[in-house]
Symmetry: D2
Subunit: 362 residues, 4 copies
């Protein structure tokens, strides 16, 4: 028989809402009487027979409120530069031929790739090798072009804002400066929006190099007006004026971040030397990727899954589903990965934050 | 001295995020060295001297995470049709002259009106009487035109989805049909989006009259496929095919809703007669208006407040702040209150819900 | 082979933490290399072959944070008075012989019965028929003797308190009286403790018949002192002085509750006639049984599960696991079901509530 | 006039529920027509005139759901060893005479001291100097004797368990070992109870020195049984077998903790060298002290506040309010601070954890 069969995989860091996409794809496919093959652990799954399995309605039951991905994911596993152990050393090998032939063998006529920047670039390369692909954008940092937001970002914001609410009570009770380090190596979306929502006094983002003396001055002035504590949010990629920004290396898509210290510790150390107040740091880290997706993310990820199936049905390959305003649409994957979506230091969001009295490090 | 002085009031039902708007207005105004006068309990406050007071930064400290409105609000208090007790009876009197002269007396050169459909229509009438007004849209039901969404809606969705998560465990453990009645007299936005996010099996909205037999049939079929329970979300304005829809009366902007029974009870009764399963109803009611605003609503309401001040500065009266995609903008109040924003039964959102396997009553 | 095999069932209304008990029993049993048979839908499961299945570690993976019970439950299904359809009519039949022989056939040498008052009484009867039973107390209402609290109660309190927090913003913004009706037909534990935690102004419990005039008076006096709103919590079994209390019928353990109106509606109606304030009711209902169990309930239910296995190992049948202070212990089931654990109107909890300025209806 | 006047202060690290105690004390005192003086920032407040102020019902309105303490607190400020800047250097000076005379001057006839081990020891010393004191136990770590638990602990558990839930999705999706470092320098209560509730695979507490090889082995074995990820909770005071335990110094009550690395980093480093899995650490830190208190903590702290007033009324000085089972009682402060309340490595709680299949490092 000639039943249509599609594949789905999730790549890169995990993110609340991945299960919503998987469930949406399976539900919409089953209505069309299509088969869905789930590939585990990103592209890596194609290289291991036991990691490819049919997904039924039963497999996706109850997964919508669950964080993470039932398919597993990995930050490794680029088929064009795959780490293989040879004679005790890791070599990077091009295994894309094997992946393409495996896709054919499995009878997969279209592949849904759920991932960020890095994963979608790999998807584009596979497209060139003849694999019909539809992309679903995933980035907790919200730094992908061509979509207003993606799932996971809203949940991460909730987690970061909740942390700010919690730090506020300690800051206020102990008259301290509390620093919260949040995700965002290249773009400060989480820091800026959580900072606004969490009533932060200072927000430091990679798009605006900070002047630590001005930050200290702002805290002192706040103290004069009766504010005996301050809350600072810093994106992990924030850096001082004159310092060097975290950038993406060409090779491997890996970024250069010195983890020594971390930006939170650094700021704390710098401020501690200037201010006569206790300064304490909290690094939110992995908590931002976890948890049950918010309503917004459950709804968006479910619709993205359905839309991916609709794009496959329409034969619109090389497209990525996206959100524009309240509409779900599609855009070329190519346009989405051109460069990262950064915050405009002169844009309305930053201006609004400053109008609210928030200090942005400049 | 010639210091600018603006007024702000909140009208209609309360809504998470109102305090964010008030705080945003005060913070942006103080940066401009303007005065802000808070008017309590909507337009009603103009008629009582003690209900108008200057708002300082101190007054808005710590209110961002708090639900409700520090200014108070009321569903009554249309100055053009104001309820006054005369000789033991309530008469509706036009007190707009008094309101206008009070605004002048207070030295208010621009008024920020935060409200829904009804409140904004009153604002338009006051505009005609010479009061320079800027609107801020507020509707928990998300049924206002000219803005993608407003604050409060997202928080209400979280509350409704959380309720669905809770009902799921009971539905599953007891093999029951659980019905959740949510807000939405005219528009089913809360029911539809919370239903998608909460994994509902059936969603009933005012925009699609329901066929109870088909609903029952869907539940029976679901049982045959192994689903021994079902969860139904019904907007309070949902009604059966052939039944009569809740509509807005011309006069007073009041809607005609027979509260007898309520739609949840009605559906439960109808299904109970047909199905061999327990059917239980929960009416979510006021809980949807309460609680700490979500991150999205805190951010949006704060920015709306700032934007209102910027509109006043620019002299853009008769405008309402709004959200389009990720941009905060402005639109004529007139356009926003033309009619309610309903769900398109043939649109993408409904289609996606049906693709997810959700039964929409038809 | 002579491997020990124990059974487990959950009976009565569902409750957060049931899955924690099941998981605890399975994990502790597997360490002893015992088999566990899960019986679905309470005692009812014994009458249907397909409802008895072996439970492995895999079956209980990931269930700890989930509400409800993976085994299903039912409020029907007393084997000594079992509803059977004969000639179109429901007859109550004694099927206990069948249950006992089924237990023998399954090779179950000890049965863990998780349930409340009603279920545990049935367990005692089965004990007399020779089935070795260990009880695990379950009551969301906290009205079982011989244990300080049981799992589920704390989660229900969190839900009720969260609802009170939400109602506060509306009450305050609209200057209304908000009434929250919570569970508790015979005992007012949820109402009293959630009321204290949620800052209620009035708490009405079955243990103290209320005087509506005094309630109204308290609200009026509060208004005079500047409190323009009030929040009332009422247990569903609360009743007016001179009215009749909900009691348990001897036969069937069913209570007589007239659902017409409900206590919330009744109080609202009574107060609405006296006060010049809007009075609104919210019935929390099924939401109290749902949701992910709180930390306390997850910990307690897990330990109860383990303790049940330890009691079986020690041959301590007829005992029920319990919590005394911070110690997990055991008590005779017989003692636990003697009568319900009610609030002492002259005890410290009530006194403390009144010291906090809460009005208790008297 | 001869109105009774009592004082209240909060000392040591902040903790959810402090506001509940303050509110309880004020409400119960006002009913007796007593005055309450709030002393800010612990004992330090006695040395600054502006830090002592009368507390009215209005001052404590709405504070029950708020974390932290409206009175402020500090970890410094022992009047018997008070840090004073003299000629550019900090000297520790005995200022207790000044504190005692200040208490007399303010007309305070009884002092409510809310604090942990350190603060209560200071209170005892002041008692000897003639100040009538009632203690309220506060310790987020739950390591005070003579009370089953104190407020704040339950909220910290909720935060830690929520973090574990979040880490689970990432651990599972990425097949990683996730380590969560929680509070608990001397006692592992948070680690152990949150670990049980959060479904941890390994829990490391100060009371049981860990053997890192056995931990690694347990993770490997878990992998063999199909568990491709593991979640570890470590109390900050956990230490390896043969390593040295964090102890309290005699002088100043300060503990010796090398912050270099932290136990989470250490374990992660040790495991990373042995296992072929990614190991990631999250340090929960200050988040555990923050946030709105849980229902349990709101109820308990409110009752503690009332009980403190009742103890003053009864003249029971030198006593500390406490919880025994479900009863609020009192115990000599002296008994409570004798030594810390540690987990019994051979007790039921540890045994239950091990029965649940949790590895405790030994």
């Amino acid at each position: 028989m000639n039943k249509k069969r599609i594949g789905i995989l999730t790549g890169g860091g995990d993110c609340p809402g991945l299960n919503g996409v998987i469930r949406g794809v399976v539900r919409a496919a089953v209505r069309r009487d299509w088969d869905v093959v789930g590939i585990e652990d990103g592209f890596d799954g194609f290289l291991h027979q036991e990691k490819c399995r049919l997904l039924s309605l039963e497999d996706v039951r109850g997964i919508l409120p669950r964080g993470g991905t039932i398919l597993g994911t990995t930050n490794r596993g680029n088929p064009f530069s795959f780490p293989i152990m040879r004679e005790g050393k890791i070599e990077l090998v091009d295994v894309s031929d094997e992946v393409v032939s495996r896709i054919e063998l499995l009878g997969i006529s279209a592949l849904v790739v759920v991932g960020g920047d890095g994963t979608l670039k790999i998807a584009l390369e596979l497209m060139k090798r003849g694999v019909p692909i539809v992309g679903v954008p995933k980035t907790i940092d919200n730094d992908l072009l061509e979509t207003d937001v993606t799932f996971g970002f809203n949940t991460a914001l909730e987690t970061a804002t909740d942390a700010l609410d919690k730090l506020h009570s300690t800051a206020e009770s102990h008259h301290r400066v509390m620093v919260l380090e949040v995700m965002g190596r290249y773009a400060g979306w989480i820091a800026l929006e959580a900072g606004i929502a969490g009533g932060a006094d200072v927000i430091l983002i990679p798009e605006i190099p900070y002047d630590i003396e001005r930050v200290a001055q702002a805290i002192v002035e706040r103290g004069r007006r009766g504010g005996r504590f301050s809350v600072i949010v810093a994106a992990e990629g924030a850096y001082p004026k004159g310092g060097s920004r975290v950038v993406k290396e060409a090779a491997g898509g890996k970024s250069v971040v010195e983890r020594l210290g971390g930006v939170g510790e650094k700021i704390s150390h710098e401020l501690g030397g200037v201010l006569e107040m206790d300064v304490r740091v909290t690094v939110l880290g992995h908590l931002q990727r976890g948890g049950s997706p918010s309503t917004f993310d459950r709804c968006l990820s479910s619709r993205f899954g359905v839309q991916a199936v609709e794009l496959i049905e329409a034969g619109s390959f090389g497209q990525m589903v996206c959100l524009k305003g309240r509409q779900i649409g599609a855009a070329p994957i190519e346009d989405a990965v051109r460069h990262l979506k950064l915050i405009d230091p002169d844009g309305a969001l930053v201006r609004h934050a400053e109008e609210l009295g928030i200090m942005l490090g400049r």
